[in-house]
């Protein structure tokens, strides 16, 4: 039977909204947002879209009107009662009332701030300016909108069965990964694929497939909305934007050198256990660990998000050992450009030496490589980053020079302050 009402309802949509909830975002955004809300609420920031894959000319693929409609729709979103109840009442990382009342009241009243959109050289210049806690929440939905609109542009000329087979192929591809992964002893893997997903429905499918296919080897999703609907753990801790903005706000080189530790000192006040995860690569992992204060060694783990992941993990292990910690009690989370082969290799290399966990992103939720002509659905490297704070430019170095961002003179200054030497370039796929 045709459900006539559903059909009529679908037909009368003016747009098919890509992001339909303020919590269709990564859990760590909300954790960081609360932290920023308490520690740096008045910081004025600017976030900007950066397409690192210049060959994909987004402004030629995506209609500006459609993009504006999607972004405008996101500005109409408000936290719903059920979402608020879930955030207030759900247990995250073993803790209830993770989100405090003052933050929740602010979040319940939140509307995302205006955006600025221009076309330049075949790309979109999309920027968001305002108070940090508000602006930062644009990052994930903005990326998701651009990725999905690009996909829709490719899909719109396909036939019904061609489309069905496309998704059949993508499902098959994912399931083959599941079949490889489920043989891995002691695997712990989470979905980190919200921002560069093929689409919301596809991410939701992927999560459910991992739930069935991996059982308790699948530990959760970074996507709050999906975590709520599918009743799995919401996963995530913190990201580069914290040290980037803290660093930009530093008034001297000495303050700059301390900024990444100040971020974690603030985090230390608020969180414990598995939320105490160091992201050491913002200005070079090696220097970060070398100069780290002693109290950081008691933290639960590190997240390796750039550079050679095995090297990063070995560095962390040596660091713990040098400081008298037992690495077997520590957690290493790999989250950079993962796919099955890399997961298999890293797990084999580190299982037993440290606790290992994986945050699997784009190649979980957007592996449409090889499925259409000209590989027009292959994921690409799109980011949305804090580019300035209180009028000063931000800088990111990471452990891969191809991921560095910021004005050249500032990059040079940061390299000097953080003692970053020669770095090995690694292709940025996603």
């Amino acid at each position: 039977m045709v459900d006539i009402a559903t059909r009529v309802y679908n037909h009368k949509w003016k747009i098919d909204p890509i992001v339909r909830s303020l919590i269709d975002t990564d859990f760590y955004k909300l954790l960081m947002c609360q932290s920023v809300f308490h520690n740096k609420p008045d910081t004025q920031v600017s976030f900007s879209l950066i397409n690192r894959t210049k060959t994909i000319r987004l402004a030629e693929l995506i209609d500006e009107g459609e993009l504006r409609e999607q972004l405008d729709h996101i500005r109409t979103l408000r936290l719903s009662r059920g979402e608020s109840t879930w955030l207030r009442g759900n247990m995250f990382y073993g803790k209830r009332q993770m989100f405090r009342s003052d933050f929740m009241e602010w979040f319940e009243g939140l509307q995302l701030p205006p955006y600025h959109l221009e076309k330049r050289d075949g790309q979109y210049e999309l920027t968001f300016e305002g108070a940090w806690p508000e602006v930062m929440l644009w990052e994930v939905p903005a990326l998701a909108v651009l990725m999905e609109l690009r996909g829709r542009a490719v899909l719109q000329h396909m036939g019904k069965f061609e489309l069905q087979v496309l998704y059949a192929r993508a499902m098959t591809k994912l399931w083959e990964k599941v079949e490889q992964l489920r043989g891995i002893d002691k695997l712990r893997i989470a979905d980190f694929g919200t921002r560069r997903r093929h689409s919301f429905l596809w991410q939701d499918w992927c999560v459910q497939a991992l739930m069935e296919g991996l059982g308790d080897k699948f530990v959760g999703t970074s996507n709050c909305l999906i975590a709520m609907h599918r009743e799995v753990e919401a996963i995530g801790t913190n990201a580069h934007e914290l040290p980037m903005v803290y660093a930009a706000l530093a008034d001297s080189d000495a303050e700059l050198a301390q900024a990444p530790y100040q971020v974690l000192a603030d985090w230390h006040q608020e969180h414990e256990g598995n939320l105490r995860i160091i992201l050491p690569d913002t200005y070079g992992t090696e220097g970060f660990l070398r100069n780290a204060p002693d109290w950081l060694t008691s933290w639960t783990g590190v997240r390796i998000d750039s550079g050679d992941p095995a090297e990063g993990a070995e560095m962390a292990i040596r660091w713990w050992q040098d400081r008298g910690e037992d690495p077997r009690e520590k957690l290493v989370i790999f989250s950079d450009g993962l796919d099955v082969d890399k997961i298999v290799t890293l797990q084999a290399q580190f299982q037993g030496r440290v606790k290992v966990s994986f945050g699997w992103g784009t190649l979980l939720t957007n592996d449409f490589r090889g499925l259409v002509t000209d590989d027009a659905l292959a994921p690409f490297s799109l980011v949305c980053k804090a580019v300035s704070a209180n009028g000063r430019p931000t800088v990111k170095l990471s452990d891969n020079p191809l991921k560095a961002m910021g004005p050249a003179d500032e990059i040079a200054r940061y390299k000097r302050v953080f003692g970053v030497g020669e770095q090995v370039a690694r292709e940025v796929v996603v």
Copy 2:
């Protein structure tokens, strides 16, 4: 929105019927049925299920109660008003009123006769006895029920996403075939896969995928119900049961030798054009062509259904040439155990020399090979054949000794009468 009514309706099914229409059968069955209805209405026949793949122990896989429920359900079916209207009014092979009023009135009143079911040696003995026009209509639905119940037995332990991926893989597999086939110039291909399909819904999906993917290279389906719903041509002419029963009814060796030609003489009265297709292999293609009456050379084509297909086609081409016919005006239909590679090869070999067409069966609608553990969904060689007529056993030789059936002494007699010499055995896959 959930369509509550649909959900409740689905939930209250006592069974999920596999065959839901008397025209969920092959078109040639109806053409032959009308012919039998007029020429041999009172012939008493017995049809029997034969599982040529002995390693698949159907009685251990399929619950007898479920099998009986499905067969009982088929006995409740009656030709619906819309189906009758379609059969009476639709144009088949360019002709309206293909089915005459007396036949249609009989068909409208038809209930399939009782069945006899027993288990023996891990197999089901399923037989149908009665008047030929009634009993013959059991063949296709009985096979479809057994194939689908065997599939359901395998599927019932699978998870929701595992199932979705199974079908995703099957879709991908079929679409890869479509992509290979659509590059073939002048291809003409029809679905002949009703009897050994994975399921009705899967066959229906396959047909629609071919419609979209192959465009007018897809010429139609043998399945009347799907032809009606999807508004494509219903395809098919005649099968071995006609010469097998005519032969069994012969009172002497001389009459036996003429029986296959008598079948076609009766057919000649009724049909013209593309329905005049010789199926020459029942008692050996070579002898059949050697001894064929001259009027048969005017027929439109031959269908090659056993033996080496290229050899069979070459034989037909030589026969036409020897009798002064231009093979380029003739049609060769290949229908035995086809898959893409064989189709590609045969098309390349014969295109331009004759008109070529393909009746693609089991490996179109049931290619689940390699998709589950132990290949438990791979199709197998299940047939349902006329085994006796008016108390006399039937015999089939074909061009492959592994497909021969009938009592040994009768096989020997038929071989002598039809001058069949040494034959090359070819593995029967489906």
